[in-house]
Amino acid sequence: MKLKLLVVWAIFIQSVVVHCKEMDAYHESVTMDVINNNKLYSFFNFTTIWDFSDKFAPHHYNLFPRTLGELILKYQVAELHFTMTQGLWRNHQWGLPHASAPTGAQLWVWFDGNTVDVDKNWIGFTNALSGLFCASLNFINKAVTVTPTMSFFPTGAFEGGYPNNKFLRYGTLSRENLCTENLTPWMKLLPCGSRAGPASLLNPSQLHHSRFLSIGIHFMTQCQSPDCLKTFVELQQHISVVFDIGSGTHQDFTLRSLFLHLIKPACPLASTSVIKFKVPSDASISPPIKKIEEFYLVQNLFELTSDTNYKVKLNKQHLETIHIPEGITSHCFPTGLGLEGGLRCSLVNNLPKNVTVVFFQVVPWFLYTQLHTLKLETESGHRIQPDIVNFAPAKIRESPHKLELVFMLLAQEVTVLNIQFTRGFQTWTEHPPDANHGYYISPACLTIPTVELGNLSRDHSSKVQRIFSEALLITIPVPDFSMPYNVICLVCTVIAVAFGSLHNLTTRRLQKVSPKHKSPLKKKIDWLLEKICKKALDQEKNPSDTR
């Protein structure tokens, strides 16, 4: 009887717990886009949505990764965007990506509206994240961190008051390489790991044989309704890979030839799991996919019974590239020689209308950027007046230079932005181990409203598209690293020469002395020398005494 009561009580508790548990759901998808008949753009999207009635403060983790959740709670993170990228996304050849990312590591975080010390939380969070992802994010210190004012607004709901930028921190490390050891902890955050669903295609060593590889983590709070009384948190994990497909006469590819893995059936914990293909109309996929949704061939991975190797046959006659209409592209170059340097960004607007964009660039503190040399003009020489110029010069060793501009890109025109800087000097301990490799200026970020780009944008859920330019490599003059002791000695010698002479001049008087006069020190030295010489001479004369 007692046992029955216990069982009933346990079931009751369980049901209460289950009822009180916030609902979470996991969606996974992979989109395969064939671009220009010679590239395959695979975009993996793993989204965990968690319904919270009010603030994100879970006691029990289910699908949401606990390691990340605890960090988010500890450092009061409202929104997190972290990407690591290897390679450069070529807008003019591949169009706009689903999720844009600059070369290297990029981390921008909106902290909670009631955070007391944002900088302390930022340093703690970057260090914790660097441990979580085995990346050197601890190098994102105050000398690299900026607070953009117009470029990185929250993508979800944010409670700190509209946009109170003091809760935003942005840091980029263009020097950071994406390695397999970054992929492994990233994949561990997925509910099914890499054992099922689209994640089964992810083979770390094979992914690095791609043209472009980017992993990303995005955490934000979204509103359930327009009045935002109820919110849910969303964790998106992205991987973007661009492979070269086929060569020569064969334009066919299979999943096994690119990823070395087959796609496994869906993860049982997922609510939706799909693979989508976007191929030219005359291409064929086997095994065939019947469902078509908005130009994509969609296969529900729950319907798969076993590991499947999709084979895509492209029409050999379509060897000429399919023209992708270019929207806006941005290329940046370093200029200047010697100590004078400069940054030149060429922004091409191929759209038929004028677009107002936000340009954001961070320059390290030791490249002394000069605002009065800023020039914004079209290639034909027509000067453009920016609407807003926001320039924060660097504080030596404390913050970098930050340039944010709002201006209009004229239709069908190339706009050129020029700014000069002087290369500065660092102390020998501030140089990284390979000092002659140079320093990176992080990529410039061009923020464009998605409405202006229309159909060109692949990502219709966000309000802005970001286009990143190249990361620039700048060498600065290095000191001689083998010289610290020598330099200290030499400089102190010169100072000692001055000090000694002036000390003598001020503490002694010029007096008449006989030329034969010896100073007491000289007398002592002469006496010592005489004694030593006498002893040596005596030993020579009487060698028998030593026997």
Partner: protein, 433 residues
Amino acid sequence: MYEICALFVGIGLRMWLFRMPRVLLWISSRPEIETPLTSWGRLIEGEALMRNSQSYQNKHSYHGSTLLLALISYLNLNAPFLVEILFIASDVISAVALYLFAQKFLRKELKSQKECKEKLFKGVSSILIKPEHVSKVPTIICALYMCNPFSLATCISKSSVTFNNLFLALFLLSAVQGSIWQMAFYVALSTYETLYPVQLLLATGLCAWKYQEKPSTLKICYLKSLACFTFWMALILTLSFLCEPTTSSLLSHYKFILSAPDQTPNVGVFWYFFTEVFDHFHTFFMCVFQINVLIYSIPMSIKLKSHPVFLVFMLIAITGIFKSYPSVGDASLWLCLLPLWSHTFSYLRYPSVTGAMLLTSTILCPVMWHMWINAHSANANFYFAATLAYTTALVLITTDTAMAYLNWHVRIREGLKPCVAGTSEKAVLRLMN
């Protein structure tokens, strides 16, 4: 007459060089002439930042003084052509001030020499100050200042060292006049620009004591000069605060001078030392180097109590060599004043060595810079060696001049060939306790 010619030649040279943009560009990239503290480029950048942000919190690129920025930005807005005229006029006024100072000083020296004729040894008339000195030396000084390449380069590059030299030249002129108010004013102006001339206060009291019409005690002179200096300094700081109502800009200016965070090469001893010093010694050596600039003022004031103008010369020289961001403009002022002591030149121990060293290092500096930065066929040590040789040459010139000066003062009392006391054996003059 000749001095007017020299002035016009100097003005002409400056105006001609201002019209040559390639020369201006080359000179503005010379680290020997432009430093992060004094350069024109930084000033223009500060002005652009101020206009852009409308706030004073954002001027981190500019490390100079506020009043200078306010003056130049006002001129740039309203009358840009006046900026060049301002720099040329500053040089002209400095040269005229140095001319008048040299004239007055040498006249007073000649007068005091005549008054103390009994104390002088017989037969030293060949090394005494003569009336030709009084007529020729001021002209030479004026011509040297207007036409020497260091001050030409400083003026062309529009660096604020020009104004510093102007204040020091006017200080020298007011020193021989004995006017405490003027001396304190120019010391305050110089101290506001670059912190180090504060040590000239010690010399102010001494100059006032020696050259005043109404004789008073040394203590009163010192107190008066301190009080005047405090008054002028407070006035200037208040003006600066009115231009820019934040204390951070003033503090950041002095903090930059004292902590020297920018390791850009210049002709000083700071840059490579603090590039290479071990981190845990950084603060210690920074304190040592800053004390090194200021410490010589006290013992030298005691030693050169009755030679205050020479004391000022020595202090200007030492500051110009050992300050945190020196340039050749700092050296040009006191190098031009060397002819004042031309009567002591026969007792210089190694003038040709130091002269050659200075010339060689000055020519080598741009060569080594080009080889390091542009051609990449040398490394930083080459340039460091050239600047170290330059600094050593200046140090040797300074100490040699001081030694010759003291030597001269002993010889005019003891004779050209002094004998050991009591015997007829020829003696040698040595620094002894």
